[in-house]
């Protein structure tokens, strides 16, 4: 566990917030798709638990600066308190946690990153790593409305191709992000493609289904409630075809084929 001082805090539209923290321990070794458990120091007991947040970015090359950023969408008390922090405040963090994306078979493939809402936070490091390795990377980014799109410039700066879909049509294509995904799945042979997705569960379910129809490899980064983040509470189980798996240690990234989507419990009503 580390205590990390806040070194920057920037508000974005759509209740999004970028928090920069100095933490060499985490910044120096976080991999794409990993996350931290972040909490307020020395606070009273409500909120009680730390909050899971993807490592949005770390310095490049690693080790240079030790600043890591978190992209936070304010949805409840925990995220509100984190977003209200100012320079000099401290955050208590555990991490990096989770398996992260598997890029061992990414070489030579077209990587299609499909992000929804604040799910974008989980794929920035992935985009950067893949494009630095010289792979072809596309970001397909969906949101309710234009102002919910956050971090677009960071991806554009990487020089990767970015396409946007908004449900209300206020930017990019109108409709769900799956609409702009489908043409990709048609355009390339299945074995030349790799899909990585993070976003609301209904979106990931739809992306998984599409990828499976086209027999394309797809990794999903799931979101579940988490109490600990390091495999002891057993609260973050995900139903997979063979067993329950822990999102925090076995995941949060799973092969889309393994996940049994569960509309009853996976909060589409909350974060969607």
């Amino acid at each position: 566990m580390v205590q990390a001082p806040v070194v920057g805090s920037t508000g974005y539209p759509g209740f999004n917030h970028l928090l920069a923290l100095r933490s060499p321990e985490i910044a120096d070794c976080a991999k794409p798709g990993q996350f931290v458990m972040a909490g307020l120091m020395d606070c009273a007991s409500d909120p009680l638990l730390k909050r899971a947040l993807a490592v949005y970015s770390i310095p490049r090359p690693a080790g240079d600066g030790s600043i890591l950023t978190l992209l936070i969408k304010v949805v409840g008390p925990g995220t509100r308190l984190l977003a209200a922090l100012r320079e000099g405040d401290q955050v208590s963090m555990i991490g990096p946690l989770g398996n992260g994306f598997d890029t061992s078979r990414a070489k030579g493939r077209v990587s299609v990153l499909v992000a929804g809402g604040v799910g974008i936070a989980s794929v920035f490091l992935l985009a950067r790593e893949l494009s630095a390795a010289g792979e072809e990377v596309h970001l397909l980014y969906g949101a309710r409305r234009a102002r919910d799109l956050v971090g677009l410039e960071d991806f554009q700066d990487l020089g990767i191709q970015v396409q946007v879909a908004t449900e209300d049509g206020s930017r990019g294509s109108r409709g769900l992000v799956t609409r702009i995904l489908e043409p990709y799945l048609r355009r390339y042979p299945a074995q030349r493609l790799a899909v990585y997705t993070c976003g609301p569960n209904p979106m990931m379910r739809a992306v998984s289904r599409l990828a499976s129809t086209h027999a394309v490899d797809c990794q999903v980064s799931v979101e579940t409630p988490m109490a600990c983040g390091f495999g002891v509470c057993l609260g973050c189980s995900v139903t997979t075809v063979r067993s329950y798996r822990l999102a925090c240690t076995h995941g949060p990234v799973f092969d889309a084929r393994d996940v049994v989507w569960d509309t009853a419990t996976e909060g589409e009503g909350i974060h969607a």
Partner: protein, 320 residues
């Protein structure tokens, strides 16, 4: 040089280097915490609840945070006693801390079968029986909600156990003293108190339970006042030691339980948000003793003072 402070306590014949343990289901099999600190610093820890066979646990929707607390219905997911003995226990050898095996069964036979399996394991110092689960042979009544069943299961286990037997009681009863006395009479060596309180939360947008199991166990600071009271009540009604559990996160919290009558404490939910919480309590207790001139932590146990207070002369006639 300051006077040395003794934090050691003795429970059920075992000497603990300090009265700080961690609670079942919140500390994995101990190994998960070695990355955070040297678990040999603890008095001991309780394993995740072990059943005869491995259990997959409940479907997702297992936890939900509530004000100063959390609900959980993990469904007692665990590797099973065999895998614990073969995969976990050997890796715990290097750590100089007491391993308390928390066990549960759906019948008395399951309880004794698990006990038999653990009897030959020297690294297990004691058993902690979780009797807050339904007894299938008795039609699903919880062992812990029926004093007779409580007596029977505890007696059956103490008869076959080669190790001290602690019983972890459910707090969801009208008079917990009856259960504590049943345990004592059945030969239990200590009482662990409390397990979680039954609760529930609703997703008001989807009008569904937040937890797949509908009801779940409430833990965390929210329940601390309830747990302190039960510990105080039980400590006054049995001779065997009581181990206090429920919402302990800081030294102050641990002291509440000790002063109210507990011989030792366990930290549960606090391990999630601060994996170092138990270690901090060990250090904090030492500082407390030092600054309050207490040589031996056992002096604190049950040292709660209650005394008379002045009342207004006309209070009884009630003009307030």
């Amino acid at each position: 040089m300051p006077d040395p402070v003794s934090l050691a306590v003795k429970i059920s014949g075992i000497r603990f280097k300090n009265p700080v343990l961690t609670a079942s289901g919140t500390f994995g099999y101990g190994l998960e915490f070695t990355r955070f600190f040297d678990i040999s610093r603890l008095g001991g820890f309780c394993t995740k609840g072990l059943s005869l066979l491995p259990r997959p646990g409940n479907p997702p929707g297992r936890i939900f945070e509530t004000p100063s607390g959390m609900l959980n219905a993990i469904g007692l997911e665990n590797v099973g006693v065999e895998a614990f003995i073969s995969d976990k226990l050997p890796r715990l050898e290097p750590y100089g801390t007491h391993v308390i095996a928390n066990i549960f069964g759906k019948s008395i036979g399951e309880f004794t079968a698990i006990t038999d399996r653990l009897n030959p394991c020297p690294k297990v110092s004691a058993l902690e029986l979780n009797i807050s689960c339904p007894n299938i042979t008795e039609g699903g009544i919880e062992f812990g909600h029926d004093p007779d069943l409580t007596f029977q299961v505890v007696q059956a286990v103490t008869r076959v156990s080669a190790k001290p037997v602690w019983v972890k009681l459910s707090p969801n009863v009208t008079d917990i003293r009856i259960f504590a006395r049943a345990c004592q009479e059945a030969g239990a060596d200590a009482i662990s108190l409390v397990n979680t309180f039954v609760g529930m939360s609703v997703d008001v947008h989807r009008r569904r339970p937040m937890i797949s199991n509908v009801t779940a166990g409430l833990s965390g600071p929210a329940i601390r006042p309830l747990a302190v009271r039960l510990v105080h009540q039980v400590a006054a009604s049995v001779e065997i030691p009581v181990i206090g559990i429920g919402g302990i996160a800081t030294t102050r919290d641990a002291l509440e339980f000790l002063i109210a009558g507990a011989r030792a404490v366990q930290l549960g939910t606090a391990n999630f948000s601060d994996p170092l919480a138990s270690l901090k309590v060990v250090q904090g207790l030492e500082e407390y003793c030092r600054s309050h001139g207490i040589r031996d932590i056992s002096q604190i146990s049950g040292s709660l003072r209650t005394r008379e207070r002045p009342v207004p002369s006309r209070a009884a006639s009630g003009d307030a």
